[in-house]
């Protein structure tokens, strides 16, 4: 029986790696998740055959309840809310790894001291990923609006982390650790995850979620060593390293270092003073003029941002684009690496609306084309088109790669109101001579543009 189980785990590990490999190319991506899913089903079913187990009834109940809830919420959630769902499911994985460690520590039945050390390390990482992800979820969901920042915060966090480590060390060395010791250890680790995540601003959350994703992978791998489970070791380690790389790629796309994201408190509003001054006035345009301007243009580049997604305007925008194309206008979409709430999030949202791939361009591909474009239509995007990132070394977003929408002959910015962007920085683009503001809800504006173009 043992051979059958091990063989199934082996197969699952192979399927996971092949699945991830396929998921890294758009053509094969959909097959990838099916492969990985098959691996998961095989591994889960075969685990019921693990020797000397009991509690089957409760185990099945836990599976059904946890799986059922996740299935329901996962199917129901809107595409725009995807990032926080990933955060919460990831946190659950971290919590599960911590739970495994807790059970093993309570049983105190370790084959070698190494395993005890790994169990504690996995528990620490898993707990931090759990509570941290929950805070990330709450922030993105809007349950927590303010970022908690106070002086001496990092010292306090460091002290809590050190205390968690100290109790962890006691756990590693104890013959049979006391319940109180275990309780204090987990409480401190969870608290650290909360306090570490609270000061981080919403704009940086994707990077943090990705980091917790990698951490959960590592925690799973550590608990895999403790249980002697090769599938967990391999899958966990693969996710740990892949997730670390992904985190770096994301941080790079935002031109921030990971340390900067974790410890600077940027995007929390405190650091984002911004530069106000002689920026002139914002000039308004109405939907009729905007529609005419685009209908008679040669090239229009659309810069969508999260605001468009929130207004659910992507379907209307795509309809509008098709109308323009029927009139012979070339239309392209320019996607900033961090448009939306996560890298690639905007591509998913546009794909949902039915926009084909070949109309969507990366920052590097399209940035030189703005100069030749007649109109840049910025809809719901703000910081990613803010020219101060190029010009003003004082600005917190200085150095971030941006889309050069300001270089287009005309810029139309669709915006709900006169407020600032996610980072709280004033956008110099809105005050340029060639910029016109088109105020209104993204979807309503798109609807008006469609009607106007149809009447031409």
């Amino acid at each position: 029986m043992d051979a059958v189980i091990q063989l199934s785990y082996f197969a699952a590990a192979v399927l996971f790696i092949l699945g991830l490999k396929r998921m890294s190319s758009p053509v094969t991506a959909r097959g990838g998740i099916l492969w990985a899913g098959a691996g998961m089903v095989v591994a889960t079913l075969i685990t019921f055959l693990w020797p000397d187990m009991h509690n089957y009834a409760w185990m099945t109940l836990a599976l059904v309840v946890g799986g059922g809830l996740a299935w329901y919420t996962g199917k129901k959630v809107a595409m725009t809310d995807m990032p926080q769902m990933i955060a919460i499911y990831n946190g659950m994985g971290g919590g599960a790894a911590a739970a495994i460690a807790a059970v093993e520590l309570l049983r105190g039945d370790f084959h070698a001291p190494t395993f005890q050390v790994l169990a504690v390390a996995g528990a620490l990482i898993g707990s931090v990923a759990f509570s941290g992800s929950m805070i990330a979820f709450a922030k993105l969901q809007g349950l927590i609006n303010r970022s908690l920042v106070f002086s001496g915060q990092q010292l306090i966090n460091l002290a809590i982390f050190a205390a968690a480590l100290a109790f962890g060390f006691l756990l590693m060395t104890a013959e049979l650790p006391s319940g109180l010791n275990i309780l204090l250890f987990f409480a401190l680790a969870l608290l650290f995850g909360v306090l570490m995540t609270l000061p981080i601003g919403g704009a940086d959350m994707p990077v943090v979620i990705s980091l917790y994703n990698a951490l959960t992978g590592l925690a799973v791998a550590f608990e895999g060593f403790v249980l002697g489970n090769a599938a967990m070791i391999i899958a966990g380690t693969v996710v740990g390293s892949a997730g670390t790389l992904l985190t770096q790629l994301m941080a790079k796309a935002m031109n921030r270092s990971l340390g900067n994201v974790l410890f600077s408190g940027f995007g929390s509003g405190a650091a984002a003073e911004g530069e106000v001054g002689d920026q002139g006035e914002m000039k308004e345009i109405d939907a009729t003029d905007a529609a005419v301007m685009m209908a008679y243009a040669d090239t229009v580049i659309i810069v969508p941002g999260y605001g468009m997604a929130v207004a659910q305007a992507q379907h209307k925008i795509w309809e509008f684009v098709q109308l323009l194309e029927n009139r012979g206008v070339t239309v392209k979409f320019a996607i900033h690496p961090v448009a939306g709430r996560m890298p690639g999030h905007m591509n998913v949202l546009l794909a949902e609306a039915g926009v084909p791939y070949d109309k969507i361009f990366d920052l590097e591909e399209i940035n030189n084309e703005f100069e030749k474009a007649d109109v840049a239509l910025v809809i719901g995007a703000n910081d990613v088109v803010n020219p101060v990132a190029r010009s003003n070394p004082e600005s917190p977003i200085y150095g971030m790669p941006i889309l050069n929408a300001d270089k287009a002959k005309n810029v139309i910015c669709v915006k709900r109101g006169k407020g600032k962007g996610f980072s709280g920085i004033e956008n110099a683009l809105f005050f340029l001579d060639n910029t016109r503001m088109l105020y209104g809800d993204g979807q309503a504006v798109a609807g008006k543009l469609i009607t106007e173009v149809k009447q031409l």
Partner: protein, 96 residues
């Protein structure tokens, strides 16, 4: 049981594998891939099941129950959202 250096070798090779698999991924797939890798560490479910299966005291059983429930949420939720995201790539390819 996987011991000592064998474990270390597995760890090292798996780490390189993860790095290589992701190394050339286009930006448009970052979010789906993060979600996909989130699903893959849902394998913690098998560990949680084994831990619960060997739990004896009530406390161990309760923690084990929570562990299995959380792990099942990770695996199922991770699959559902990844599948939904990647589904869209399929439909847009058809329109091309």
């Amino acid at each position: 049981m996987i011991e000592g250096f064998t474990a270390l070798y597995i760890f090292m090779l798996a780490a390189f594998t993860g790095y290589e698999v992701i190394a050339r991924v286009p930006v448009i797939l970052h979010t789906p891939l993060m979600s996909g890798s989130n699903f893959v560490h849902g394998i913690v479910l098998v560990g949680a099941m084994v831990a619960m299966g060997h739990a004896d005291t009530d406390l161990e059983k309760v923690i084990g129950f929570l562990g299995v429930m959380l792990a099942a949420g990770n695996a199922v939720g991770g699959y559902v959202v990844t599948e939904r995201m990647l589904e869209m790539f399929k439909s847009s390819k058809g329109a091309k």
